[in-house]
Symmetry: C2
Subunit: 376 residues, 2 copies
């Protein structure tokens, strides 16, 4: 993996760049659609390419490990081949889903024991095994096993959680160095900064992570319920310590406003289920504000879903039609809303990069922030 910064915003920490993997060129800042179990919900791969313009998507190790399982993925030649996606993929470590989805989970120094949410079968993720699993999945960027420190939590818990994450990182990193990619394309390994909302722990973690000289670095454990100001404060603090010449990935964030604010703080990569999950419930993000399409006010709005939208669905369908589909529980409603929201998120990150390059980022962001959070 290569990373090159092509432009820096003089008035903030924002930067535009490009990540090159063996599968694609990824202009940053970038938003990565979440393809949980090898599929971005409601969206065809050709739509991810041609309509959403996604150079990279995310897969969840926890889900893929349980279903379809490693045997199938290996025989397919990895996830790229299995799902017929020839651009880049990033996989998380599975830790987050173990804590949020699995039953009977138990953390030990060894790793995370859990029971499958599908059939109750027992499993163990270790810092080493999740590297092996991600080698078999074959993502271009793979993540270290961490504990996503919950919010709120006390300093004592956060301290112990951070020590666990750091100990696991060293083991994961060692396994990563001792093993090779399975399918002939390169893989990069990103460690994750934790530390809750405690400045001391975040600083310590950022220094610890920075010392590993990884090809890219992630910030985890944010957007888990804490006030937004605390999230931004942690991102700013951590980004001041993480190496500037490596991509920074803020995991699981967030709203369009969160994304612009975090770009201004020097973040390059994002992922979030919000555009697809909220889309399925009828929430549309646009450059003019947020639409709850279930609202009666759209019942007879026969204008396009989003005149400024970049996907075919934005112009092909009307708001009244989309409202009808969402209210009626028709699959096509979820498909259209997911397409629209993802295309919008990708547009937002892409446009931020263009504005950084053209020197207009600060002015554009100032104009966009109030619009993005307006309720239409």
């Amino acid at each position: 993996m290569e990373f090159e910064i092509t432009s820096k915003d003089p008035g903030s920490m924002a930067r535009a760049g490009v990540i090159r993997t063996d599968h694609s060129e990824i202009r940053t800042p970038v938003f990565m659609p979440v393809g949980t179990a090898g599929s971005v919900k409601g969206v065809h791969q050709r739509e991810l390419e041609g309509d959403i313009h996604a150079p990279i998507i995310l897969g969840n190790t926890y889900h893929l490990y349980l279903r379809p399982g490693l045997e199938v993925l290996k025989r397919a030649g990895g996830l790229h081949s299995f799902m017929n996606w020839d651009r880049s993929i990033l996989t998380d470590s599975g830790g987050y889903q173990v804590f949020s989805l699995a039953a009977n989970r138990k953390l030990t120094g060894e790793g995370a024991h859990f029971s499958s949410h599908i059939d109750g079968s027992k499993h163990l993720f270790t810092p080493e095994s999740v590297v092996d699993i991600q080698r078999t999945i074959g993502a271009d960027i793979i993540m270290a096993l961490d504990e996503c420190t919950p919010w709120p939590c006390d300093l004592d818990y956060a301290r112990k959680s951070l020590d666990l994450t750091h100990g696991w990182l060293d083991r994961g990193l060692q396994r990563f160095r001792e093993t090779d990619p399975v399918y002939g394309h390169g893989q990069a390994f990103f460690p994750i900064v934790q530390g809750g909302v405690f400045r001391g722990l975040r600083e310590e973690s950022a220094h610890f992570i920075a010392g590993k000289q990884a090809e890219g670095n992630a910030i985890g454990g944010l957007s888990v319920g804490e006030p937004e100001e605390e999230m931004y404060a942690m991102v700013e603090l951590v980004n001041g310590i993480l190496p500037g010449d490596r991509p920074r990935y803020l995991m699981g964030v967030g709203t369009p406003v969160n994304i612009l604010e975090s770009i201004a703080l020097g973040v390059d990569m994002f992922d979030c289920v919000m555009p697809t999950r909220n889309g399925r419930n009828g929430m549309l993000f646009t450059s003019r504000g947020i639409i709850n399409i279930r609202n009666r006010k759209w019942m007879n709005d026969h204008s396009p879903v989003d005149e400024e939208g970049t996907s075919f669905a934005d112009r092909q369908y009307s708001r009244a039609y989309l409202r009808h589909l969402i209210i009626s529980g028709e699959m096509l409603g979820a498909q259209i809303a997911s397409l629209h929201n993802l295309a919008f998120y990708l547009w937002l990150a892409r446009t931020a990069g263009e504005k950084i390059i053209s020197g207009q980022f600060a002015a554009w962001k100032r104009e966009m922030i109030p619009l993005l959070s307006t309720r239409l």
Copy 2:
């Protein structure tokens, strides 16, 4: 609406032709995807056009009347405009759904009283009102209100049911003649032959319907549980009486084998939820036979969904991938299976027409029938 027969099969009643509406040219035999509430489940309009090659789709008056409702449809300029579909649409009369979905339904001479399955609100469909409703929806082909005689039922019930349907037809026809299309394009009105599986009633009904000299005629009340031989016997009987120069539409039928057999009996138009509904459950229809994609045997079949399939999804995705999606309940699984099955049904009817024209229908059908019902 115009109908022209371009070729007849010398060895059967099969014929190839073309229906011309103000919206599209429809080569027959044709299969019409079911777009219940203004959407073919899991399928974008551009896929219906470019991948499934559907010249006409079906809408359900019952569903559309309840949601989005006539006010919205009228303000949209009709269903074509509302859903942005510029090829042809056929709507049923709503009778079938009243009997299968609605609560507290009660038939009187006046019409069908029922409570909405959505909110319990009370409604009345009359032979006249369903014409008015279908004028407002704006389909190219609209249907008479009928009672779909259940199976099994005794002669006495079937007799009374048929009298009701025939009485309703005269009233519907009168309303149709007294009213004009709302949106500037023509509408054709099809009456429906009923009579259960009683030869005498079917003959009587076919003569009654034939006497109306409608632009096309439908056969209803079949494929409702009766043995297939009885269905074919009724279709053969009825088609011997219905005018040969008008299209014949066999409602709600059926399997690929049912479709080929009925084409041989002189049917021109079909609709059925089977390709989409069964598709969502993992049943795929192909030219080599039926695949239950949930079966473990496909777990590591990394070959295309259907090498001979005509949709992009057939070549873009593997059987192993589709199995994984369907088993995991991922929306994309239902989308792929629906696309595949609809493209296959359209291909089957289209190819039957080509074989009729080239004089190879009998031989081709003989070869296809055993394949189509094979379990792969």
